[in-house]
């Protein structure tokens, strides 16, 4: 009697565990087939696919580990797609931004060439065409810089220089331009050495782009540049009393192709500040901007001082 009961219980236990085993195997088999399906999809380029598993399941650690790998694959893929998208936008805007001034320029030259105008007016046309050609070249230069920065081909020659001296030298070339544009210019550069590890050419481009940006867009009649030391950094402030930048726009000014005035004005590539931003980052510095609408804008550059 007693042994019979034990036997029945034993058989019962064996039966139940076999059932559980069979069910588990079935469930895992099904999940493995789902995982292979998903992996096939991912192999074909779908980085968004995820493998789902309940936390306590047998396959969960495997599924989660695979998801981690897929996620890093996805972020690389999406970075690539974003570059592609930017290049597409750039091509579109390029075809407009180059075609319009170039066609207009041809219009002037054709008119002079065909004798539609002559004498002083003809000379005037050629002068206009020449100016437009220079603007166009400037635009192409900016574009070239931007492409080089994007493809990491921008070569930097880092050396230790005194930034006050370098800044003075850069500003000298701007003084006549400020005078022409009737802008009051104040430079506050202390008689003190600020040694910084920097690419002088890169720094020059940064400053030139920023100043050009102020002249082209701020409508300011006063521009101030100030250098000072701040906690192991040198701080360069470029402030103007111009129209200022809207809060919404301010968040985006360092993005490529972002233009505050949505109309397609004749000048401005939408790349200048984006180039500045990338250059500053490459030189281990930071740039920020603050602005009050109608009062003006301040650009703040920080570079670490050399030991």
């Amino acid at each position: 009697m007693y042994t019979e009961a034990v036997t029945i219980i034993a058989f019962g236990i064996v039966f139940v565990s076999m059932c559980v085993a069979v069910l588990t195997v079935r469930r895992v088999k099904k999940q493995i087939s789902e995982i292979s399906d998903a992996l096939e999809d991912i192999k074909n380029g779908n980085g968004n696919r995820r493998i789902l598993a309940e936390t306590h399941e047998l396959v969960a650690p495997l599924a989660y580990a695979l998801n981690d790998i897929i996620l890093s694959y996805e972020s690389r893929l999406s970075a690539y797609h974003q570059t592609e998208e930017t290049n597409r936008q750039l091509m579109t805007s390029l075809s407009h931004d180059v075609r319009t001034p170039l066609t207009t320029l041809i219009g002037y030259l054709d008119a002079a060439h065909k004798g539609i105008v002559n004498g002083k007016e003809s000379d005037d046309y050629i002068e206009t065409a020449r100016r437009k050609a220079h603007d166009l070249k400037e635009y192409i230069d900016v574009l070239f810089d931007w492409f080089k920065l994007g493809s990491n081909e921008f070569s930097m020659n880092i050396s230790t220089v005194d930034l006050t001296e370098l800044t003075r030298n850069i500003l000298i070339d701007w003084i006549p331009i400020f005078e022409d544009a009737q802008i009051d210019f104040v430079a506050d550069i202390p008689e003190q050495l600020f040694r910084v590890q920097i690419d002088p050419d890169g720094y020059m481009r940064i400053l030139n782009n920023l100043i050009q940006n102020v002249i082209s867009h701020s409508q300011a009649d006063k521009v101030e540049i100030a250098l000072s030391g701040m906690e192991g950094n040198i701080k360069i402030l470029l402030s103007d009393n111009g129209v200022g930048i809207d809060k919404e726009d301010l968040k985006h000014i360092f993005e490529r192709l972002y233009k505050c005035d949505k109309g397609r004005s004749e000048k401005g590539s939408g790349l200048g500040l984006s180039i500045v931003h990338q250059l500053v980052a490459k030189l281990n510095g930071t740039i920020t901007a603050e602005s009050i609408l109608g009062k003006g804008t301040v650009f703040i550059l920080l570079f670490p001082l050399a030991e």
Binding site: N48, R50, L52, Q82, H96, T100, G107, D110, R264
Partner: protein, 307 residues
């Protein structure tokens, strides 16, 4: 693989004599945000329910990732995240507990899925507050967290900004935008607010009384509805020169040798055409386009308007 993530063919839903959705053909592309725009009762929610298999279509079919939904629901639905009306959360449980139930039922892509989802929508993890004590905005956030918890490839969101305050709306908007831009997700959203769709969507489908009136990219729509004068002339180079010289106008873009657009509507077309003809140009077209996006929607929806 199919070009479209979602494609419907003559999708129709009839309630009694009334057709709620009639022969709808929408096309949602991978990695883009598709905005379904329509007034209340236009058939947006019914369409979305059919896309998720929550309602059977009377006729027509839905294909998701190129596969018919009806035969593949079990395989396709886990890859979709959705927000339709309010999900059934337990009022006597906290947000985290509610999400844990769904995580157990559906599986998740990693161990921190619940925390990640709550972080993304700005709700606290393991907070003691019960769902019944949540405000409308917080409930909506939790519903969004549920939709994204399993990191789906496709999101179907019915009026996702309902019940949110202005800051919440901006947050959800940029969050949806990032999912698409940075993570490459495909997103279908519906709204009755034109400005909301215009801010967010890449492609727009306008639905009215159950039928799709227009399906177009926002880019095309904006070109259509931008304010400009279109000219087709024999020589755009000369036309550009005349605009600059005689009208002191430089707000124009040149498409090709014969087509250009003037973005300033304050100049009389008559005067420009006369000047062009006097200078020996042939003008084959001159047309003003000054329909705003709102005007455009009013026209396609038959005068009733949307927003």
């Amino acid at each position: 693989m199919s070009k479209y993530v979602i494609e419907t063919r003559n999708l129709t839903k009839q309630y009694g004599a009334q057709k709620s959705v009639a022969r709808l053909n929408i096309h949602v592309q991978k990695g883009r945000i598709y905005g379904l725009l329509g007034r209340n009762g236009a058939g947006k929610t019914t369409t979305m329910k059919m896309l998720l298999g929550l309602t059977q279509p009377t006729s027509g079919e839905v294909a998701i990732w190129g596969k018919p939904l009806a035969a593949n629901e079990k395989k396709l639905l886990p890859r979709i995240g959705s927000l339709i009306e309010s999900p059934g959360f337990y009022p006597n449980l906290t947000a985290t507990e509610n999400l844990r139930i769904f995580a157990t039922l559906r599986g998740v892509p990693n161990r921190n899925a619940i925390k990640n989802a709550l972080d993304l929508v700005g709700l606290p993890y393991k907070d003691r507050k019960l769902f019944s004590q949540y405000s409308l905005g917080m409930k909506q956030r939790l519903a969004i967290a549920l939709a994204i918890m399993h990191d789906p490839e496709l999101l179907i969101l019915d009026e996702p900004i309902n019940g949110l305050d202005p800051i919440g709306i901006a947050e959800v908007r940029s969050f949806i935008r990032n999912l698409c831009n940075e993570r490459g997700k495909t997103i279908l959203i519906s709204s009755h607010i034109l400005s909301e769709i215009a801010l967010l969507a890449d492609d727009i489908g306008i639905i009215d009384h159950g039928t799709l009136l227009e399906e177009e990219s926002l880019e095309e729509l904006e070109t259509k509805s931008s304010k400009h004068i279109r000219f087709t002339v024999s020589d755009t180079a000369q036309a550009a020169r005349i605009l600059e010289r005689s009208f002191h106008e430089n707000q124009f873009t040149i498409q090709d040798d014969h087509n250009m657009r003037l973005h300033n509507l304050n100049i009389s077309i008559g005067k420009i055409v006369t000047a062009f003809v006097e200078n020996g140009l042939e003008v084959s077209q001159a047309a003003t386009s000054e329909e705003s996006l709102e005007d455009y929607f009013k026209r396609v929806t038959g005068g009733e308007g949307i927003a």
